[in-house]
Symmetry: D2
Subunit: 308 residues, 4 copies
């Protein structure tokens, strides 16, 4: 039984209407100047169905800074290239602490809690760099291929701004290097990591690019990026660790595997059904977009599409 | 389309066979003498379908100490009686620390991370006691009704043993009382809590009793214990917090909402499909049954029934 | 060469004058109602010379709640009765955390950092109770004997108020009991501890009673309470741990071994010269009397009597 | 009354004899290869009297790597040049944690606990660099002048080895920079810091160089490096924070202000009497020289020269 095309069209319109009425929408990230200009009134939401159909509402074709959303794709690349080895160097447990905390890292001897906190993502990028010699380049390549958007690219201004305010990430990288859990020289690793974070993409791009997670590992062209088991595992890590230290709250309210970024985007997966990407730059105190979380909450309530 | 009755019969047999070959099965809990005698070679597994059909393999009719599995039912009772108020006093985030840690409790001013760590469960029991005057009695009642087993009961020897080794829980209760987050006098609260933990039930009993979580809140008799939204929320909290500080690992390997107990039992939910309960007394270092986790891992792999 | 009697008379007068001009004097402890009435304008200061001469300024004969100052005497009693064994159960390092923290206790498996934080004092009282059967009584006895004041006594109202607000200390005691580091039943230990804290004594009483610490262990009657080495050791622990988590600051500003209490008193020792006790109920955020710290700071500056 | 010259000659001989009989002497630091060759059987001890007389026993003229002992001199220089301002950026409390922990730094927003843990010393060097443009050079200069040894110098091999294993210190510096508490660019700061640590000096050199701390701030040439109050304050910080997380233990056993280094040296001060420096490369698990601590323990016991 094939569902009607654009089956969520009416739901998207209703969600957009309800989100427009939200009284408080948070504030844009301010740790780098280039993000601080984000306008919390901007809002876009896209759905990509399994067959690659994509449609949306609001600013769904507007590129924004993907930031930590790229961590999902970096992890998928490393798992596809290298299999289970990655899990010797990074855990799969929620962190229970803010996303750039050094405390847990110290108590656990340089092994980050999971691949979606900054420390864990640095380890993943370190591995991807060692495997490919060009971590950021390979990431851009997979995003271009899966989204079908050959113009998708880094924003050099964002990458430069990250680097100029990169002391916390430099501290994390040197700290893990002191435990032997970073092997790329830190002055080479950080630029690759900042470039990865600086990807500009739209809701349409990212919903399409994440399609393999809803298709149990199958890429847009029908080949396998991941095994069924690996795709399931990434979804599980997204659910338990994908939204900084609000993963429990997000699972409770939304009930979908998801990954957020401080650019205001959130990618979510309904396994076997579709992927979603929502964007609005205003963040709550934990770093997740207020309007994007509200939109996903409403979407799952209206469609009963939670995994639970 | 109605599935065949006992549709997982063959899978259960195969899982039991594979589990029988496990070389390492952990050690029984030893914090109270009465649990330390558990035999890691014992193994039972039951499936309860939505219509109340129940069947199993191995020691699936053997009563064991439910321990922390009862925390799910206590939470469901409080939500059904009292709605969202509970979440002012207990969080919904994974703890990132062992199940009886005081550290996080101190940093977060007496508000436990979630209702499934001991501190959080004490708060839930405190609320249930305030609402009903007999927390443990109400818990036994709902378990009897949902399992259809009127003989299901506390084990006074276990409750007494918990009390005799209850200093850690007494510390947690007094500590939260110092923040005003426990209102029942501690010498009255602890016996109710220890009694709750001492419930004896079989895999069949617990799989049946948890059926409302697979039926979106509907009890065995067709009435609603919880709203659809509340049932979804409990499943979400089970997935992110139900297996002590191995929730991420469990989601990764098994991919089902679940709650474990140090008696060696684990209850798991496949929303809309069935509930499972597995028991084997040998625990890993995080307090989860080795054989029960392995059985659920195999079950979801063989059936592709993960939520992800 | 014998110094003139009352040789610090003029210094005391000058210190009192300067302290009277202090613009901010903190607030009285408010964790129990009976202390919250303390008037921050009250101020007394006494000096006890080695020969037992005592004199003072302001409210130096006014009894106040000794609180944690009694911890020094409890420690001295245990060392005199039991020697070095105590140090297997309590450390000698500054805590780096507030005085009733459970965090460090957990990381260090139930061994408190030092005998002057609450957890450590509970262990000392536990040992004194085991050694004597009447910890609080023996403490009162030594204070009466050394101060020469047979009327010195507990304040039952304070002890009752401590008990009524004793959840934090109950949590500490149960927590250490769970590690086997408290052997007295908690419901018996806590009353002894709260009674100990409720001692009422004046600056004159406490300066005299602490005289053995300035006389290298020798009591008022010329007999030895402690060896020279033990007296030195208690002074060292007072310097590094005697003023909650402000020990470094206190050493820096005052430079004398000292022990403070939340009743607003501070006892300080100039080894080989004299003991001092200052009282004023207004506390800073770390629990030390603002005016008493200022008075000791001025005293050591005017006399050059720091140990450094 | 002037004491006899070389008044501690006999004590030194006896201490050396007793130390020679120590069965366990620890292991040399192994975090950089150049220190790992240190021979725990080497032992030297020097006393510098107030008038600049210096004498010793064993290898008291053998240069060794001063390491963290230099932190005292860097702090003295900054206080002499800049007064109290330093204390806005670094605390004066014992750390309660190992000397290079990031945990406390995070909880306290980038303000190190004290100037003698690595984080605090980096802040002091940062300030000295800002004040002088050549932190390491000024440090060498004051050490040469006060010790009277114009040949005292850095060991470039040690500095290079520190840099090659400097990830932990780089992490600390970047971390504090992220809070704005390091202003020198990290790639410029670290070489200055590593150079400072690499000073080679003998027991004689360091005992003489620290003389101003026993002379209440007065340099070898009679001029004032510090005020009397500042000298007292540095002694206080040495007592409470000078021996990593064993400061309480050191105060208890030895009872003198002191600063240790992982090269195996310890400098100690008897205010108004003399300074001591002891060296032996074997360290205990907290980073303090086993034989040097034992020697100072014996010295104070034999002479009754503790400050307590």
């Amino acid at each position: 039984m094939s569902p009607a095309p654009h089956r969520f069209r009416a739901v998207l319109d209703r969600v957009a209407e309800e989100v427009a009425a939200l009284p408080h929408r948070g504030s844009p990230a301010d740790y780098i100047p280039v993000l601080a200009d984000g306008d919390p009134r901007r809002f876009g939401m896209a759905v990509a169905e399994l067959d690659g159909t994509v449609y949306g509402v609001g600013d769904w074709r507007q590129p924004f800074s993907a930031q930590s959303i790229t961590k999902v794709f970096a992890l998928a690349l490393v798992l596809s290239l290298d299999g289970e080895g990655m899990w010797q160097r990074v855990g799969r447990e929620p962190s229970g602490d803010p996303f750039n905390s050094l405390v847990q890292l110290e108590y656990e001897n340089g092994i980050p809690r999971n691949p979606f906190i900054n420390a864990g993502a640095l380890v993943v990028t370190d591995r991807l760099q060692a495997l490919t010699g060009d971590a950021a380049g390979r990431l851009r390549e997979v995003l271009r291929t899966e989204s079908g958007n050959p113009a998708l690219d880094f924003d050099p201004q964002v990458a430069a701004s990250e680097a100029a305010h990169g002391d916390r990430n430099a501290a994390l990288a040197h700290f893990m290097a002191s435990y032997g859990n970073i092997v790329t020289p830190v002055p080479e690793l950080l630029p690759a990591y900042f470039q990865q974070c600086s990807i500009e993409a739209s809701c349409a791009d990212l919903a399409l690019a994440a399609g393999f997670l809803a298709r149990h590992g199958i890429r847009a062209d029908g080949s396998a990026l991941l095994t069924r088991s690996q795709a399931k595992q990434i979804n599980a890590v997204m659910l338990t660790c994908g939204t900084y230290d609000a993963a429990g709250e997000f699972a409770y309210r939304v009930g979908l595997p998801a990954k957020s970024g401080v650019g205001g985007g959130i990618v979510a997966v309904v396994p076997g059904v579709c992927t979603l990407c929502v964007w609005s730059p205003g963040l709550d105190r934990r770093g997740n977009s207020v309007a994007a979380m509200a939109a996903l909450d409403r979407f799952t309530t209206l469609t009963n599409l939670s995994i639970f």
